[in-house]
């Protein structure tokens, strides 16, 4: 049987992206481009780790490129007030194009084959999985127990109130974008260096989109999205087990269960009360 540690490791990239997305959505912004942010993180991490031989430099590069990605997205959506959905969807495509083309030009040189791995810290935990748990826990605390956490939630619920109180929702959202970019990029970096030990252009494979739906699934709670990501990983593990045992259950139908379950949860809770009221809406102050 697959150990819970492996599940956690496998779930970490999605979970990191989803924790960042949770904070971002709480601030009222929606990053449909998470898939692209993660891909950029994964590719730059691979590139730097292969060039320098240092996994830490690779992970740092992934996080920083994730940050640069969301700086662009934040400029487009938060400064120019362009549509968040359009910018995100197009950013995914742009990232796929850039990373895909750059990878094809690099892979011809064969330099990206030897990747350093993320060493375990104690037991089967490594730095990044521990960081994930620490981040999710502290973000959960921060959102509800601190002034700045309250400001962030206000920016997502009713930005006009934040403006009236003398703060700028734009600044709050910008910082949320930075945080989401760092985590998304790190998630992508961990995917290539920690989980698969290789890079392929299609490797993110919907994890960014899954992370976005996990946020809704977990009702915008950071520890909830980590739990959701582990649950998804468990489903995939069960599918592999069943395949090995030659059971007659269709693996494809099994794999679709988490998405169907999320849909059913959405049907039950409906719009619910937890969704940030101003989610996805541009700010109107100038």
């Amino acid at each position: 049987m697959i150990s819970p540690f492996d599940l956690l490791r496998y779930a970490t990239p999605t979970a990191l992206g989803a924790v960042g997305e949770t904070v971002l959505q709480r601030s009222g912004a929606l990053n449909i481009g998470l898939e692209g942010v993660m891909l950029n993180g994964a590719f730059s991490a691979t590139l730097i780790a292969a060039k320098t031989g240092s996994v830490w430099l690779g992970l740092t590069a992934g996080a920083l490129v994730g940050l640069v990605s969301t700086l662009i997205l934040a400029w487009l959506t938060n400064q120019l007030d362009l549509d968040q959905l359009v910018c995100g969807a197009v950013f995914n495509l742009l990232s796929l194009g850039l990373c895909g083309t750059a990878f094809e030009r690099q892979s011809a040189t064969g330099k990206l084959l030897n990747l350093p791995s993320v060493p375990p810290l104690f037991g089967k935990f490594d730095v990044i999985t521990l960081l994930l748990i620490a981040t999710a826990t502290s973000v959960g605390y921060w959102l509800y127990r601190t002034d700045s956490g309250l400001k962030l939630r206000a920016s997502g619920e009713y930005p006009a109130a934040l403006t009236a109180a003398g703060f700028s929702p734009r600044t709050v959202r910008n910082r949320a974008w930075w945080f989401a970019g760092l985590l998304g990029g790190l998630g992508g970096a961990y995917l290539s260096l920690g989980v698969t030990q290789s890079f392929a252009t299609e490797m993110v494979g919907g994890r960014g989109f899954i992370a976005i739906t996990l946020v809704t699934f977990a009702r915008w709670r950071p520890l909830g999205v980590v739990f959701g990501a582990i649950l998804l990983a468990a489903f995939e593990a069960i599918q592999f087990q069943l395949q090995l045992q030659g059971t007659q259950v269709s693996k494809s139908l099994l794999l679709s269960l988490p998405y169907v379950a999320t849909l059913i949860i959405l049907i039950i809770v409906g719009k619910g009360t937890q969704a940030p009221k101003a989610l996805g809406q541009p700010l109107e102050d100038h």
Partner: protein, 338 residues
């Protein structure tokens, strides 16, 4: 007209910029692209074959988005549409109905896509579920359903490979000539795009859709049933995306595997945006991008640049266009013309 010219200018700029950015000699690159897209009759037919699904999915996106239903589910709808068509195809495989079977399969594709989109519309109307989230989820479910179908009920009897039955030629869309892949789906796609333009711009239903999309508070004041109008547009959008799936299935191979979709549902989004969500403008731009998709194959043969190159051009053009429009609007506002 002006917006089309600006779009073309930005597109051309991005082709040149992307070539330069990846270190390809611009003159040579442009020549290779040109030859790959329109160099000979094979190239032209390849460009048009690629343009066909782009035209349909971009039209589908335009119908939904114009009515404020921001669906990114064209991919799932395309897959489910093709799957419905394949089920009908399997059912009618030995019935020797020929053309009638073809019509039935195309109809099944339309129905499949519409049903898949309608689920998202229903959840939005009844439970307030965000269309963006539900369509993402339905994309995943659609992909897994297709996997299940080609490995299970749709698989060829007595075969282990996850492939559907090969349809006979008389059940497929007719091809224009034996030498090329160009099929009658292109004509169908153009008709559908023109019909969509007529619906959106000249009928009451399309007008209501545009009102709901452009100004929800006005729609509320004049007592338009926003949910119903948005749901109808979304279902219609799904129908067009489903048709795209059926046409891909019936036009190219007449056989389906789990890697059947090549992401046309997602690639339609930038085409729709560059065409300003207007099917009449989408029509030429889908041909341009179909040409670019066909042409990059040619580029890679000589320049070590693969199929991902077009995505850079597509995405860059949309972003450039959005940013241009933003500052253009600002300039007009300052002059007091807006």
């Amino acid at each position: 007209m002006r917006s089309v010219i600006v779009s073309i200018a930005i597109l051309a700029l991005f082709v040149v910029l992307s070539l330069a950015a990846f270190g390809i000699p611009v003159g040579n690159g442009l020549k290779l692209l040109y030859q790959g897209a329109v160099g000979d009759s094979v190239a032209v037919s390849q460009s048009l074959v690629r343009a066909t699904p782009l035209l349909l999915t971009a039209t589908a996106i335009a119908i939904a988005w114009k009515a404020g239903a921001f669906s990114i589910g064209a991919e799932g709808q395309l897959i489910v549409g093709a799957m419905f068509a394949a089920f009908v195809g399997k059912w009618l495989l030995n019935a020797n109905l020929g053309f009638i079977a073809l019509i039935a399969m195309l109809g099944a594709g339309v129905l499949g896509g519409a049903v898949w989109a309608w689920i998202a519309a229903f959840l939005n109307t009844k439970r307030g579920v965000d269309i963006v989230i539900s369509t993402i989820l339905l994309n995943f479910v659609g992909v897994h359903l297709l996997n299940y179908a080609v490995e299970g009920p749709l698989r060829r009897p007595n075969q282990t490979a996850p492939l559907t039955d090969q349809l006979p030629a008389d059940m497929m869309l007719p091809k224009f000539s034996r030498q090329s892949d160009l099929h009658a789906g292109l004509i169908l796609a153009v008709i559908v795009a023109l019909a969509a333009a007529f619906y959106m711009l000249k009928t009451r239903g399309g007008y209501y859709g545009r009102v709901v999309g452009a100004n929800p508070s006005l729609a509320r004041q004049v007592h338009l049933d926003q949910h119903k109008i948005r749901a109808r547009s979304l279902a219609l959008s799904g129908a067009v995306a489903g048709l795209a799936g059926a046409i891909q299935y019936l036009g190219i191979n007449g056989q389906m595997s789990n890697s059947f979709s090549q992401g046309y549902g997602f690639l339609g989004i930038p085409v729709a945006l560059i065409g300003n969500l207007n099917p009449l403008a989408i029509l030429p731009f889908s041909v341009v991008f179909g040409g670019l998709f066909a042409a990059t194959g040619n580029l890679s043969r000589f320049g070590n640049v693969g199929s991902y190159f077009v995505y850079v051009i597509q995405a860059g053009t949309v972003l450039g266009l959005l940013i241009y429009r933003h500052f253009e609007k600002g300039r007009l506002a300052v002059r007091g013309d807006a």
